[in-house]
Symmetry: C2
Subunit: 323 residues, 2 copies
C-alpha cells in the first residue's frame, strides 16, 4: 500500500443517468434486440437475455480421442432481472420494501429454473469497471446443466468438512467469526456480513444467514425483510467508502438444485459473495494481475483492516445524508 | 461477441514515453525510493523492489486454535528486472540479441534465487491496463519459501499425468497440438506457441520448448536464441492484432527449486503463459467478472478462432513495417 501509484486511473464514474431512456432495452416500455417490447413493469422484471452465453440445445462435442482433449456440452439459459423501473437508482438507494421484492424475485427464479437445472447462478455486475454494459439496476441469472467449477469446489470443501466435523463448514465459520468479531462488518437478527479470513479482494465480503438455510427459497418472510435491510446497510457502507457508486460483482451460492435437489445437501449453507475491485479510491482499483494470475493471490490490506474500515462507515448514504 | 457494447472503454494507451526520464526510478542513473542511485546500465538491470510484497524475515503467525483459521508465514524476496536502458521500447521493439540478454538474465536469476527458494516466479505486467505502474520495460521476480497455489496445482496435475501415462503432460500436449495444428500460432526449431485448449483469456497463449526442459537455466544457447526470436514474433503479432502496444501479464513456470531441486521433477516441463486482457479492440477488454468470478470461466471466442487470427497476422511490427 506504500507504493507510489503512477498506473492506470479509471475514467470517472457515472455521469448522471436519466431515470427513463426509451432506447435503453432494460427500461419499461423499451423495445429489445429481438423486437419484444418490455411491459411497463413497476417492481422487478425478468426476461430472457437476448445474447445468451448458454443455450438449452447446445450440441454435444462428440467423443474425445485423447485424455488431454476432453469437452462436454454446456447447456442452460440466461436471464436478466431488472431491480426497479428507474435507471437512476441502485440497490442502496432503493427502499427496504423495494429490495425485499428483489429478494423474493431471486427466490422465485431459483425455484423456477432450479426445477430443471442443477445450478442457478444469480449474479450482479455493478458499474462499468466490472464490465457492466448497462447502468439500469439489474442482475443476471444463468442456469446450467452442470455444476460450474466454483460450485464444485464449494461442494467438495463443504462435504469434506461435514463428514470430518459433523456440521456445515459455513455454520461453524459464521459462529467463529461472531466470537472473534475482528472481521465482522454488520450483524442483524438473521444475518452476518464479514470480510472472510480468505478474502482476496480488498473489500470482499461474505453475507451469511445465521440459521442453517440451504437455498434462497427456504428463507422465511422475516429473514427476507432482514436481508433487504442488511443489504441496504452493506451497500450504503460500500458507497460511502469512497463516496462513489461502488462497483462490484456479487452472487449467490446455495445447494445444487435440479433432479438431485432431494438428495442430502445439509453440508451446504446459503451465502452471497461480494467482490469489489476498488483499493485506494473511487478511481484506483486493485489489479489482479501478474503474481496473482501466475502464482497466488496476495492482499494489499488485511481482512481485519478492511472490516474495521467498513464497520466505521455510516449507514446513511452519502447522497441522502446531507441536506 | 454479438452483444452491443455500451460498457467501459479504456483510456487510450500510452502517449509517447520519453526515452530517458531522470525521475523515473527504473531509468539508468535515477535515484530510487530508498536513496540508491541506479548504475548507467546498458543491458538488463536487476535490483531489489523498494516496495516488496514478500520479505525474508516475515514473522510466523503462531499456532492456530481452529481448523478453519490456518495461516502460515510467506517469506521471500521481490526483485525488479529492467529489460533495456530506454523507456520507450518494449520487447517486440527490441532486437533479437537484446531479447537474448533478457532470456539469459531470467535464467541467472532463477539459478541465483532458486538456490535458496523453492519457487522463483518471473512475471511481466505490461501496460497500464494490467496494473503496470511504470512504462519502462521491465518484469518482476518474486521468490518464495513456499509453492504458490498455481504452482501446486500444476505440480499435482503434471505428477498425476506422469504416473498414469509415463510421460510429462506438457510434452504429450505439445506433441498433440503439433499433430492437430488448429491451435498453433508459431513454431520454430526449438519452440511452440499455441492457444491452449483450456484458454480462458481471448488471446491467451502457451509458449513451450520442444525438448523436455524442466527449468530456464537448462536451455542451451541455441534454444535461448530461438526463444528470443519466437518471443519477438509472438509479441509483434500481439501488437499488430489491434495496432497497439498489447497489454498482458506473462510468467514462467518450471520445476520447483530450492533444497528439493535435486528430487525427481521429470514430470515438469518449462513453459510460459501469456494472459492478455483485450477482446474487441485496443480499448475494449474482456471483463472476468460476474459469472466468471462466481461460477466458471466462459469464452467469447474459441481457442481455434483466436489461434487462426494470430496466425494470420504479419511478423513485422506495425510501427516498423510502413515507411
Ligand atoms: O508491483 P506493482 O507493479 O506495483 O503492482 C502490480 O503487480 C502486482 C503483482 O502482480 C499486483 O499485486 C498489483 O496489483 C499490480 O498493480
Ligand atoms: O453479460 P454482459 O453484461 O454483457 O457481460 C458481462 O458479464 C458477463 C458475465 O459475467 C461477462 O462474461 C462479460 O465479460 C461482462 O462484460
Amino acid at each position: 500500500m506504500k507504493r507510489p501509484w503512477q498506473g492506470q486511473v479509471e475514467p470517472p464514474l457515472l455521469k448522471t443517468v436519466p431515470r427513463h431512456d426509451p432506447h435503453n432495452p432494460l427500461c419499461p416500455g423499451a423495445t429489445r434486440a429481438n423486437g419484444e417490447v418490455n411491459p411497463y413493469y413497476d417492481g422487478t422484471f425478468l426476461f430472457d437475455n437476448d445474447f445468451p452465453a448458454l443455450q438449452p440445445d447446445a450440441p454435444s462435442p462428440g467423443p474425445s480421442d485423447h485424455p488431454l482433449f476432453q469437452a462436454e456440452a454446456a447447456r442452460g439459459v440466461c436471464k436478466v432481472m431488472c431491480f426497479h423501473p428507474w435507471s437512476d437508482v441502485t440497490l442502496p438507494l432503493m427502499s427496504v420494501p423495494e429490495i425485499r421484492t428483489v429478494v423474493d424475485a431471486w427466490a422465485s427464479v431459483t425455484e423456477e429454473l432450479g426445477a430443471q437445472y442443477p445450478w442457478v447462478q444469480i449474479f450482479e455486475n455493478k458499474g462499468a469497471m466490472m464490465g457492466c454494459s448497462n447502468p439500469h439496476p439489474h442482475c443476471q441469472v444463468w442456469a446450467s446443466s452442470f455444476l460450474p467449477d466454483i460450485a464444485q469446489r464449494e461442494e467438495r470443501s463443504q462435504r469434506a468438512y461435514q463428514s470430518q466435523h459433523g456440521e456445515p463448514l459455513l455454520m461453524e465459520y459464521g459462529h467463529q467469526e461472531l466470537l472473534r468479531r475482528e472481521r465482522l462488518v454488520l450483524t442483524s437478527e438473521h444475518w452476518l456480513v464479514l470480510v472472510p479470513f480468505w478474502a482476496v479482494w480488498p473489500f470482499q465480503t461474505l453475507l451469511l444467514p445465521r440459521r442453517h438455510v440451504r437455498r434462497l427459497p427456504e428463507l422465511t418472510p422475516a429473514e427476507r425483510d432482514d436481508l433487504a435491510s442488511i443489504m441496504k446497510k452493506l451497500l450504503t457502507k460500500y458507497d460511502n467508502l469512497f463516496e462513489t457508486s461502488f462497483p462490484y460483482s456479487m452472487g449467490w451460492h446455495g445447494a445444487p438444485t435440479g433432479s438431485e435437489a432431494g438428495a442430502n445437501w445439509d453440508h451446504w449453507q446459503l451465502h452471497a459473495h461480494y467482490y469489489p475491485p476498488l483499493l485506494r479510491s473511487a478511481t484506483i482499483r486493485k489489479f489482479m494481475v501478474g503474481y496473482e494470475m501466475l502464482a497466488q493471490a496476495q492482499r494489499d490490506l488485511t481482512p481485519e483492516q478492511a472490516a474495521e474500515r467498513l464497520r466505521m462507515l455510516p449507514e446513511v448514504h452519502y447522497c441522502l445524508g446531507q441536506k
